[in-house]
C-alpha cells in the first residue's frame, strides 16, 4: 500500500457511492428503539421503489441527537427525521418520489447542531463505520502516511505539543508532554494503550466515537506508536460496549488487510499491531494503573505512582496511555497542523470537547463544542433548557466531579475554570438538574456509586465511602445532627487526601461541591440532638 493506492481506494469508493445517501443511525442508543428494523425497512423500500441506482441506505454511527432518536438523515438534501419508527421507513423513501414522509422533520440548523464545532465527530453519522473504504474516502489514513513519510517521530510529538491538546479522560494532562516522556524513555519495547473503559454515569462519548468512527482511533494509535517508538497497542474497552468491540474488531481486520496496520505499514519499516482487551466490569479499571494490571491478567487494583506508566507501565515497559477521545483528535492535528488546532478553544484548553448532555433537559445527546463555551450556552441554547421549572445545577465530571449551581452558568467550559468552581472537566458527562432535584440525594447517588466501585485495596476509599454513604443516608432520613455534618466534612477531606488512586481522591467531590453551593439543603435536613434523644426514648433505646 502506498499513497497512490490509498487515494485510488478513495476514488473508487466515491464513484461507488450513490448520489442520495440515506443515513440510518445504527448505534447503541437508536438500536434500543429498533433502529435495525428501520434500517431493514428503508432498504426494502428502496428496492421496492426501484431506486437502487441513485439511492443507498447506509447504517451510520451516532448523529448526536440521541434524545430524539432513532434518527434518519438524507444526504445531500439535509433532511433529518426524528423519532422514526420502522413502519414510517417506507414513507421516507416514498417522499423522494413526491410522497409525504410521516416522521417528524427535525431542524438540522437548530443551535444543538449549529453551535457545534466538529473535529472528532466530523464524520460521525456520515460514514458507515463498518467499511474502511468509507473512512479512506474522507481522507482516512492520510495523516498516518503523512506522519510516516513527511515527519520524524520527534516532529509528530512537537506538533501534538504545539497543538495544546490535553488529556480528554478528565485529568487534562498535556498530551504532547506525555508523548515526549514516553518517546524519550530508553528501551526497545514500548506500548500504546487506548483507554476505552468509560464508566461515569451518564457518559457515552467514547462509546459513540468507537461505534461511529473506529478507524479514527486506530489511526490515532498508530500515529502515537510511530511518534513514541511503540509497535504494539492495546485498546481496553469495557465489556458493556459489545457494538464498539465488534466494530473495532472489524476495523482492525480491514486495516490489516490493506496493510494499514500490522507489519511494514505503507511499505515503511514501521510496524504497529493493535489488540483489543475487554474489561470485566470494574469502573476502577479506567484508572490507568489498574487498567494495566487488568491487561496483564491481574486483579484490577491501582498501584501507587510513581513510577508512572510512561516510565514503567505495561509489562514494566514505557507505556503511553491515552483516552479514546484524546487519540481521536490526533489525525486532525496531523492533517491540519498544530496552529489550526490551537486556534480553537481558550488559552490553556485547546480544541473541542464532546459532552454527553443528559438529565433534565430538552435536547439530550452528544455535542462537540469548542473549549471556552459557557455552560449557559450549552444548557440554554443548545440543550433548549429544562422542560419544566428551572435549571438548578449542572453536574460535570461524574463521580469525580461536582455540581455547578445556576448562578455560575456563565463559567466557561475549560479545564481550569471548571476546577476553580470545584468541579472538573471529567470525561464528558454533563447532567442537568432542575429545581425538583435534591442535591443531598445526588451526593448520595454518587457516593453509592463509588462505594460499589472502590476496589477495596486502600483503607480510606474502601471504608470511607461506606461511612460517607451511611452519613448521607442518615441526613436524608432526618436523623443527623450538626455534629454528624461536621464529621462527614472531616471524613470527606481525609478520603480525598489519603486515598491511593484517583477514584478515592475524587470520590468526596460530589459531596464537597454540593456542600459548597447547596449547604442550606443539608442544613434543612438536620435535626437537634434533643429530638433524636426524644425519638430514642419513645422506642426505649438510647440514641
Amino acid at each position: 500500500m502506498d499513497l497512490q493506492e490509498l487515494r485510488e481506494i478513495a476514488r473508487e469508493e466515491k464513484a461507488r457511492q450513490k448520489p442520495v445517501r440515506v443515513h440510518c443511525c445504527t448505534s447503541t442508543g437508536c438500536r434500543a428503539a429498533d433502529a435495525m428494523g428501520i434500517y431493514g425497512n428503508l432498504q426494502a423500500a428502496v428496492k421496492e421503489h426501484h431506486l437502487e441506482d441513485r439511492v443507498e441506505v447506509i447504517g451510520v454511527g451516532c448523529m448526536g441527537f440521541c434524545g430524539r432518536g432513532p434518527l434518519v438523515q438524507i444526504d445531500p438534501d439535509d433532511l433529518l427525521y426524528e423519532e422514526v419508527v420502522p413502519d414510517q421507513a417506507t414513507s421516507i423513501i416514498e417522499a423522494m418520489n413526491g410522497g409525504t414522509a410521516q416522521p417528524i422533520l427535525g431542524d438540522s440548523q437548530h443551535p444543538f447542531f449549529a453551535r457545534q464545532t466538529r473535529v472528532v465527530r466530523e464524520y460521525s453519522g456520515k460514514i458507515d463505520p463498518e467499511r474502511i473504504e468509507e473512512y479512506i474516502a474522507v481522507g482516512g489514513y492520510e495523516s498516518l502516511h503523512k506522519a510516516i513519510y513527511e515527519m520524524t517521530p520527534a516532529a509528530v510529538v512537537e506538533q501534538i505539543s504545539k497543538s495544546g491538546l490535553r488529556g480528554r479522560g478528565g485529568g487534562g494532562y498535556p498530551t504532547g508532554l506525555k508523548w515526549a516522556t514516553v518517546a524519550k524513555m530508553p528501551g526497545d519495547q514500548k506500548y500504546i494503550i487506548c483507554n476505552g473503559d468509560e464508566g461515569d454515569p451518564g457518559a457515552f462519548m467514547d462509546r459513540s466515537i468507537l461505534e461511529s468512527d473506529p478507524h479514527l482511533v486506530l489511526e490515532g494509535m498508530a500515529i502515537a506508536g510511530y511518534a513514541v517508538g511503540a509497535n504494539h497497542g492495546y485498546i481496553y474497552v469495557r465489556a458493556e460496549y459489545p457494538l464498539a468491540i465488534a466494530r473495532l474488531q472489524k476495523g482492525i481486520q480491514q486495516a490489516k488487510k490493506y496493510g494499514l496496520l500490522g507489519s511494514q505499514i505503507f511499505d515503511s519499516p514501521f510496524d504497529f499491531k493493535i489488540d483489543i482487551r475487554i474489561g470485566a466490569g470494574a469502573f476502577v479499571c479506567g484508572e490507568e494503573t489498574a487498567l494495566i494490571q487488568s491487561i496483564e491478567g491481574g486483579r484490577g487494583n491501582p498501584v501507587p505512582r510513581p513510577p508512572y506508566p510512561a516510565e514503567k507501565g505495561l509489562y514494566e515497559c514505557p507505556t503511553l496511555i491515552n483516552n479514546v477521545e484524546t487519540l481521536a483528535n490526533i489525525t486532525a492535528i496531523i492533517r491540519n497542523g498544530a496552529d489550526w488546532y490551537a486556534s480553537i478553544g481558550t488559552e490553556n484548553s485547546k480544541g473541542t470537547k464532546i459532552f454527553a448532555l443528559t438529565g433534565k433537559i430538552r435536547n439530550n445527546g452528544l455535542i462537540e463544542v469548542p473549549m471556552g463555551i459557557t455552560l449557559r450556552e450549552i444548557v440554554e441554547d443548545m440543550g433548549g433548557g429544562v422542560p419544566d421549572g428551572e435549571v438548578k445545577a449542572v453536574q460535570t465530571g461524574g463521580p469525580s466531579g461536582g455540581c455547578i449551581p445556576k448562578s455560575m452558568l456563565d463559567t466557561p467550559v475549560d479545564y481550569d475554570s471548571l476546577r476553580q468552581v470545584g468541579s472538573m472537566m471529567g470525561s464528558g458527562g454533563m447532567v442537568v438538574m432542575d429545581d425538583s432535584t435534591s442535591m443531598v440525594g445526588i451526593a448520595q447517588f454518587y457516593m453509592e456509586f463509588c462505594r460499589g466501585e472502590t476496589c477495596g485495596k486502600c483503607v480510606p476509599c474502601r471504608t470511607g465511602t461506606v461511612q460517607l454513604y451511611a452519613m448521607l443516608s442518615k441526613i436524608l432520613k432526618r436523623q443527623a445532627t450538626r455534629d454528624d455534618l461536621a464529621k462527614m466534612e472531616a471524613l470527606c477531606e481525609m478520603v480525598r487526601d489519603t486515598s491511593l488512586c484517583g477514584l478515592g481522591q475524587t470520590a468526596p467531590n460530589p459531596v464537597l461541591s454540593t456542600l459548597k453551593y447547596f449547604r442550606e439543603e443539608y442544613e434543612a435536613l438536620l435535626v437537634e440532638p434533643e429530638y433524636l434523644n426524644g425519638q430514642a426514648a419513645l422506642h426505649g433505646v438510647s440514641a
Partner: protein, 238 residues
C-alpha cells in the same frame, strides 16, 4: 552507589539512593505507623497510615513505596497526619468486628498497637457489624474474617516467600475478602504447605494457630525481613 541527604522530623540523615522514606526513617529512629507493609515483602501502599508530608508538595506520600530524593524535608507527625491516622484506624475498627477482649492476638496485635499509638480510644464512626465467617477447615490453622483488615500480607507472604499462592483477594469494596484457593475452604487447598507463614505475617488475630485462645497468639512478623535478607544477601544472622 550514590547517597542522598535529607531531613526527617528536623533530623538530618544520609541514606543510599533507592532507600524508601520508611527505611530512612527507621535508620533515623523515627517511627512511622503502618499496617500493610512488612519488611521482606513487596510494599503496596494500601493502609495509608504511613503517609507523610513533604515540604513543597501538596500531596501526602506513602513512605513505604516512596524513594527518597536529595534535599527532601519530611514531616511524619504533623497535626493533619495525626488526625488522618486516627480517623483511618477508627475506620478500620468500625469496618470489621474487632473485639480485643476475646481475640487470640490481644496484647500482640499490630492493629491494637497502632490504635494506642495514634491515640484512638473510641470510634466516631458507627460500627458496621458485618456478617463474616470463620474458616476452621485447615487442620492446623484458622482464619477469622471478622478480624481481617485486608492488608494482604498473607497474600504476599504466601506468594513471594513461600511460593504457594494460596491466598488472594476476592470481590471488591466493602465486600472484598481474603480468599483461599479457588474460593475453597482453606483445608481443601492442595497448594497450602501448612508452613504457617501467613499466621506470622498477619498483623491481627485473623489468621491464627488452632487451639490458641485469648491473648495467646504470638506472631513472628520480623522473621520475613530475616528470611528475605538470608535469601537475597546471604545474611544468616537475626
Amino acid at each position: 552507589m550514590s547517597v542522598k541527604t535529607l531531613k526527617i522530623d528536623n533530623q538530618d540523615i544520609a541514606v543510599e539512593a533507592g532507600t524508601t522514606i520508611m527505611e530512612a526513617a527507621k535508620e533515623a529512629g523515627v517511627r512511622i505507623p503502618k499496617l500493610c507493609h512488612l519488611e521482606g515483602l513487596t510494599p503496596v501502599g494500601a493502609c495509608r497510615l504511613c503517609l507523610v508530608e513533604i515540604e513543597g508538595m501538596n500531596k501526602l506520600l506513602p513512605s513505604c513505596v516512596t524513594e527518597v530524593w536529595e534535599g527532601m524535608v519530611i514531616h511524619t507527625q504533623t497535626p493533619k497526619l495525626q488526625e488522618y491516622r486516627r480517623m483511618n484506624v477508627e475506620l478500620i475498627f468500625a469496618e470489621g468486628n474487632h473485639v480485643c477482649s476475646i481475640c487470640v492476638a490481644n496484647g500482640n496485635c499490630e492493629l491494637q498497637d497502632v490504635a494506642v499509638e495514634v491515640g484512638m480510644d473510641h470510634s466516631r464512626f458507627p460500627y458496621r457489624f458485618p456478617d463474616r465467617h470463620v474458616d476452621l477447615s485447615h487442620p492446623l490453622f484458622g482464619i477469622d474474617h471478622n478480624r481481617c483488615i485486608l492488608c494482604t500480607r498473607c497474600v504476599r507472604v504466601c506468594d513471594e516467600v513461600e511460593g504457594a499462592h494460596v491466598w488472594d483477594v476476592a470481590q471488591r469494596g466493602a465486600a472484598a475478602y481474603i480468599v483461599s484457593g479457588l474460593n475453597q475452604p482453606w483445608g481443601e487447598v492442595d497448594a497450602c504447605t501448612s508452613c504457617g507463614k501467613c499466621v506470622d505475617a498477619c498483623p491481627t488475630g485473623a489468621i491464627f494457630k488452632q487451639g490458641s485462645t485469648t491473648g495467646e497468639k504470638d506472631a513472628d512478623a520480623p522473621k520475613f525481613e530475616f528470611l528475605t535478607a538470608a535469601r537475597e544477601k546471604h545474611q544468616w544472622t537475626r
